[in-house]
């Protein structure tokens, strides 16, 4: 099992399940992070966090602490 945080820039995988809690969970889903969607990691911010990912044809940035609760499947 690996998470979105484990992907390096340029790599992609599909979302398995979202273990983020609370408000952030719903916001992620509204932004299109739903089970089965393919996400590619674009880059890491200059200070190492947050990360920028690409999904559904647009770019979204989120913190590593949330990325590590998004479980991915190949």
């Amino acid at each position: 099992m690996f998470t979105l945080k484990d992907l390096r820039p340029g790599q992609k995988a599909c979302v398995g399940s979202i273990a983020v809690e609370g408000l952030m969970r719903r916001k992620l889903m509204d932004m299109g992070v739903t089970p089965g969607v393919e996400i590619q990691v674009n880059k890491t911010a200059p200070f190492g966090d947050p990360i920028e990912v690409r999904l559904r044809g647009y770019s979204l940035s989120l913190r590593k602490k949330d990325a590590e609760n998004i479980l991915m499947v190949q």
Binding site: S17, M31, G32, A45, R56, D66
Partner: protein, 673 residues
């Protein structure tokens, strides 16, 4: 017949640009009833119908996470517009249509404006609008708000749709087995709880109850029977979808969209890497990002303050003092006007208003830069870069956006805090934003610099911005652990593609901000200048004052001046200037100008008499940090909501300004004797 229609869409979908296209220049800005959010309204142009267009805040969904979302949703639910123009960024169509699937549940006639079609066509994608209408159940039209194409067709489509009497049913987004559950639950609601959310659209009510939407839950007042019934449906959905309810509902929506657009769009060619992407790589480079940001900031302030200031200030001052005032005196003298009238007009009105207008060219340039930063998509990138740092100070990268807007004016800056979802973070940002120096304070720094720090003007102003950043971070760190304690809200931010700002949009924004500045000069500052002139021309016994320090104003200034002695500016002129600065920060210079012309000296002369370099620096620090003008204070009160936080914020801002100026003066005056 009068129509009211709403413009709804995601942030970054080009909503403002479209709004300007659709209304021309006849827009006005007001407040929402009840909630204090800026509402833009305008009349639709090129139509013979009476149609008012309301610009809703940009939102991603109808969930009540941020104030913007709550405001938009309440408007759509309670004011029931006659039609919704759903603007969709076609270059990001999948995510944009997510909001559309929610708007479809409101049972309101809708028109889809597929924006940025010029960009989409360049990337080799074709969208079949007829197919889109078949799938989503409402008509679409291709437009480019930036290039102003498709606007007339959109207006025609709006007119045509308004004439349709019977609303076509929107297609079903959810699979039949889920719809059956929804319908059963709806029947149950109608039979068992007919009074619950009675006026709401049917499907919206069902889904929001099942989702246990926070705002909706507030309205059912812990009805435990209903909550039990909701739990039963939720369980059934979880069994059917094999997901929890939240992911299931979001997932069904996105599945409907993906299936729909794969049917309605066609990719004709692979697109090459565009210039914007290359530029993005440089701007966001691990090592270059931060230096580039500071370079931008430095250039902005160098150009607007030093370069433009050098060119314009001398000329404008010459015009005001040597042409306008001399001319007024000559003309009025010939007409036989009394000396005091000439003095009132010259020393009161022209000196006061003129001192402020001198700085208009510099502000225009500053506003141009800020508007470009806002429109280009660079702001989101800076938030992305800064998040790691802001996090340590109880804020998120998103707090940065209100602060950059606050460079122009604190009022829109404080209002921009609405995009922050977390209440604690929003309030904290609203309290910290006034510490970011607004455009109206800039003339004071420039003036002081031109008197005392001629060779180091840009450096002095830049040092003030560093002071303000230090105060923002320091205060954020302390306040987030004390007064505004609470959970971290998290960070989730769309990074829009870099875009070349549209000239007309920049011009509109710059014009609106400048106009506001000039209008204030013509109203508040005009009135205060006249009052000030009277107060400083007469003694308490209402005799014409022979010496300036006999005047009513001087007497009053002398009472409060001792408070500022430890800060180095215990002079009554400075004290009065600070007081009038509460009305508007521009008043500080006007006041000093009016008072010094009453004393027969030029503004710069009297400033060099009142201040020393150290006390001048202490003074600008106090102006920078102390509570902002009335307008910003009032906005802060609205955003904070309660008196407790508001009074604390005021006391904190004034207390901190006093403390920092105290230290600057006490230490500075010992080093530079």
């Amino acid at each position: 017949m009068k129509y009211k229609i709403a413009l709804a869409g995601n942030p970054n979908s080009g909503k403002t640009t479209l709004f300007n296209c659709l209304t021309g220049s006849n827009l006005y800005v007001g407040n929402w009833p009840g909630v204090t959010v800026e509402k833009k309204e305008g009349n639709l142009r090129d139509t013979n119908k009476d149609i008012t267009l309301v610009d809703l805040p940009g939102i991603y969904s109808l969930a009540p996470y941020s104030m913007d979302e709550i405001v938009s949703r309440n408007f759509l639910l309670e004011e029931r517009p006659d039609l919704i123009i759903n603007i969709i960024d076609a270059s990001n169509i999948e995510r944009n249509l997510y909001l559309s699937t929610q708007l479809m549940e409101l049972n309101c006639p809708m028109v889809g404006a597929l924006n940025m079609m010029d960009v989409v066509k360049k990337t080799g994608v074709e969208i079949d609008v007829r197919e889109m209408e078949k799938i989503f159940g409402y008509p679409f039209i291709e437009i480019s708000a930036q290039k102003e194409t498709g606007i007339d067709e959109l207006i025609k489509l709006v007119e045509k749709t308004l004439e349709i009497k019977k609303l076509k049913e929107f297609p079903q987004i959810f699979p039949p087995e889920i719809m059956t559950l929804f319908n059963e639950f709806d029947e149950l609601l109608q039979n068992k709880y007919p009074e619950i959310l009675a006026g709401y659209p049917r499907l919206f009510r069902v889904i929001k109850l099942i989702e246990k939407d926070e705002e909706v839950l507030l309205k059912i007042h812990n009805n435990s029977d209903l909550l039990e019934d909701i739990a039963v449906v939720r369980k059934k959905i979880e069994v059917l979808s094999k997901h929890d309810v939240d992911s299931a509902i979001a997932d069904y929506r996105y599945r409907f969209i993906t299936a729909g657009i794969s049917q309605a769009t066609r990719k004709t060619k692979e697109n090459a890497i565009q210039f914007q992407e290359k530029l993005d790589k440089v701007l966001m480079n691990r090592y270059a990002a931060l230096p580039i940001f500071f370079l931008f900031m430095f250039v902005i302030y160098y150009v607007s303050i030093t370069l433009v200031g050098d060119i314009t200030i001398g000329g404008i001052e010459w015009f005001i003092n040597d042409v306008l005032m001399v001319g007024v005196a000559a003309v009025l003298g010939n007409l036989g006007a009394a000396d005091w009238i000439i003095a009132l007009i010259n020393d009161g009105v022209i000196a006061g208003v003129g001192a402020v207008l001198t700085f208009v060219p510099q502000l225009v340039v500053l506003f141009i830069f800020i508007s470009i930063l806002e429109d280009s998509g660079y702001m989101a990138r800076v938030a992305f870069i800064m998040d790691r740092i802001f996090r340590h100070f109880g804020l998120s990268g998103k707090s940065f956006i209100p602060m950059v807007v606050g460079l122009g004016c604190s009022v829109p800056g404080i209002m921009a805090t609405r995009t922050l979802e977390n209440e604690r973070e929003r309030k904290l940002t609203a309290v910290l934003t006034p510490f970011i120096s607004c455009g109206a304070k800039m003339p004071i720094y420039v003036l002081m610099a031109s008197v005392f720090f001629v060779q180091y003007q840009t450096l002095l102003v830049f040092s003030l911005y560093l002071v303000s950043l230090t105060v923002v971070f320091g205060s954020g760190f302390v306040l987030s652990k004390t007064w505004f304690k609470g959970a971290d809200s998290g960070y989730l931010l769309e990074i829009p593609p870099l875009r070349l700002p549209k000239l007309r949009n920049t011009a509109t924004q710059v014009w609106q901000r400048t106009k506001e500045f000039i209008v204030r000069a013509g109203t508040i500052i005009f009135a205060v200048s006249v009052v000030l002139w009277f107060l400083q021309s007469f003694t308490i016994g209402f005799q014409m004052a022979t010496a300036p320090d006999e005047s009513i104003l001087a007497t009053f200034g002398k009472v409060i001046a001792p408070v500022f002695v430890p800060l180095g500016f215990g002079n009554w002129v400075a004290s009065v200037a600070l007081l009038t600065g509460i009305a508007a920060k521009e008043m500080i210079i006007s006041t000093m100008s009016v008072l010094s012309s009453g004393q027969g000296g030029s503004l710069t002369q009297s400033i060099s008499q009142i201040f020393t370099p150290v006390s001048a620096y202490s003074f600008v620090i106090f102006v920078l940090l102390a509570s902002p003008c009335m307008a910003a204070v009032a906005t802060m009160k609205k955003e904070l909501g309660n008196w407790r936080d508001f009074l604390f914020a005021l006391a904190y801002q004034i207390g901190l300004a006093y403390a920092v100026s105290f230290v600057v003066y006490q230490v500075g005056s010992r080093i530079f004797v």
